[in-house]
């Protein structure tokens, strides 16, 4: 992990330092908008965020110094393709969750993740995903009473199909 840096410019360190500084500024701006009722303590709701912001600013400067002195570890080489697939899966799930329902949205996440980790057969991955998420919905939504969003497929299977089968079994 802790490889000595080569002659590379520490762009990563500057990027991280900027991120930390941005967080600190967000905290400070928000703290400025709060009404300070310190009461007996003399410390109100805005003070701790200010202290955290101060800490972040110090760390930000420290990161820059550390980067300039070549002390930041060089991240291992990454293949960003798989990360893209996983993010695509998560994004699809987020967008489709309430319209397509939990089963389809999560099966898509499963398939995209599997694709990212080297499974090239997408239809197969989707099929396995559906085979996993359908019982998961049944167990967690119907049995354990978690509130998972349903869509047309959930209605078809769990509102129409299964009760009807059970009804038929009961009737006979």
């Amino acid at each position: 992990m802790n490889n000595p840096t080569t002659g590379r410019r520490p762009l990563g360190a500057f990027f991280i330092a900027a991120g930390l500084a941005a967080m600190a500024i967000a905290l400070l701006v928000d703290a400025a908008s709060l009404t300070q009722g310190g009461g007996y303590a003399g410390v109100g709701p805005a003070d701790v965020p200010r202290m955290v912001a101060g800490g972040l600013l110090v760390l930000s400067v420290w990161t820059v110094v550390s980067g300039l002195r070549g002390e930041m570890p060089v991240p291992p080489k990454q293949d960003y393709g798989p990360v893209f697939w996983i993010l695509l899966g998560l994004g699809l799930q987020l967008v489709l969750l309430h319209s397509a329902g939990f089963i389809i949205a999560s099966a898509l996440l499963f398939a995209c993740t599997a694709r990212g980790l080297g499974q090239r057969n997408l239809p197969l991955a989707l099929a396995i995903g559906l085979a996993l998420t359908t019982p998961v919905y049944g167990i967690f939504d119907k049995l354990l009473k978690l509130n998972l969003p349903g869509g047309p497929l959930e209605d078809l299977i769990f509102v129409n199909l299964i009760p009807r089968l059970f009804g038929a079994a009961m009737g006979s």
């Binding site: 003399g42 570890p73 599997a114 990212g116």
Partner: protein, 504 residues
Amino acid sequence: METLGLLFQGLSVALDPMILLYALIGVTLGTAVGVLPGIGPALTVALLLPVTYGLDPAGSLIMFAGIYYGGMYGGSTTSILLNTPGESASIVTAIEGNKMAKLGRGGPALATAAIGSFVAGLLATLMLAFVAPVVVKLALTLGPRDYFALMILAFVTVSAAFGDSTLRGLTSLFIGLALACVGIDQLTGAARLDFGIPQLLDGIEVTTLAVAMFALGEAMFVAAAIGAPETMNAVNGQVWMSRKDWARSWKAWLRGTFIGFPIGAMPAGGADVASFLSYATEKKFSKHPEEFGHGAIEGVAGPEAANNAAAAGTLVPLLTLGLPTTATAAIMLAGFQQFGLQPGPLLFITNADLVWGLIASLLIANAMLVVLNLPLIGLWIRLLQIPRPWLYGGILVFATLGTIGVNSSPVELGMLILFGVLGYFMRLHGYPIAPVVVGLILGPMAEQQLRRALSIAQGDWTTLVSTPVSAVLLTIAALFLIVPLVMRARGKDQFLRQVGGDSD
């Protein structure tokens, strides 16, 4: 022997068939996640929190503790057979254990790890039972400023004392503290950092953050890593330990236990620290130092005992002070809070049945684990053969399931993705994850104690160091911050670097 009486009372709770079932589910799940690389006990407890919302509090908490213990057992299996630690506290086990497996001594390595874990789990749980009431008595005398000092100490040990960089440990901690500021201020009701989004008023869920960083970040990191996955060593040759193996193991088990328990109990770091210290000790005391690095059985026996003992030790500050010192403990604390319980000295009075039932259950869980991990070891090895695409696909489905079950709004899922990406970049650049989680849950508690202490003292800041307890704790915290910094600056930090891991 008041403690023994309470422990027997606890056993009557623990022997209830439903509670036994919860414990069994917990240890089974725990072993499974310990075995599987990429998911650890912290993540599993986080995933189960929403599911247990409507279940029995005692049973659920016993299940969580079973997961923690089980994770420590299961992790060794992966370390020994695959050389990829199943969870962070088993990193050291991989050094000697995998060498043993390559020499065809995988069987004895697995056996000494499982029996060592059992011995350590048993002794350390008994120590927990006897130490906890003493700490409770002490804790009842502590005021807000002492608690504040304790939390500062926990912040420092979690982030800066070990690991390869003070800077990166502290950065992780402050990211957690910054995220902790989001939401309604507990004392005045002022809305902080809500950016006009109503969902943010409730603050950032610990479970969302933990799931995102541990599951999503980890999955992206594994997916993007370049390089061939490790091959598994089959267990062949002698499976059981020989007389010589026993003779070399038992002292290492005991030493590991007595190293691990205090480390876990003292807010001095998690199970990974304990396992490394135990390894160093075994290397020093061994009559066969030349075998170290080539499959010395003490190097498996000691650290495996130490990490289980440390897991039990971690429960001391968690139960008696409400102070989590590892990511798993932090999420277990969230579990207590979900059921409206606040761990701390009062819990031993108001919910004595629950606390002692939990401790007694751990003794039973430990016995279950040794059965699960010795005769049934073949079952767990089969788990390791699930192809990675299906494994990680499944992990992500379950990871998002937990969040969707609590709150399926796009805001919550968006945060999950955002923190997942953050976790990925942090892992990429060598930032530890555990301090973020501990900062998020402990931050608001520390703020509350600070402001309470200052209220009592009418804004006089010297109050923070005016009791012996708080002064000593803050001094120790300062030393833990400064000494490693100096050691690193002088290049004497190999030891610290190896101790630090992505602790669970």
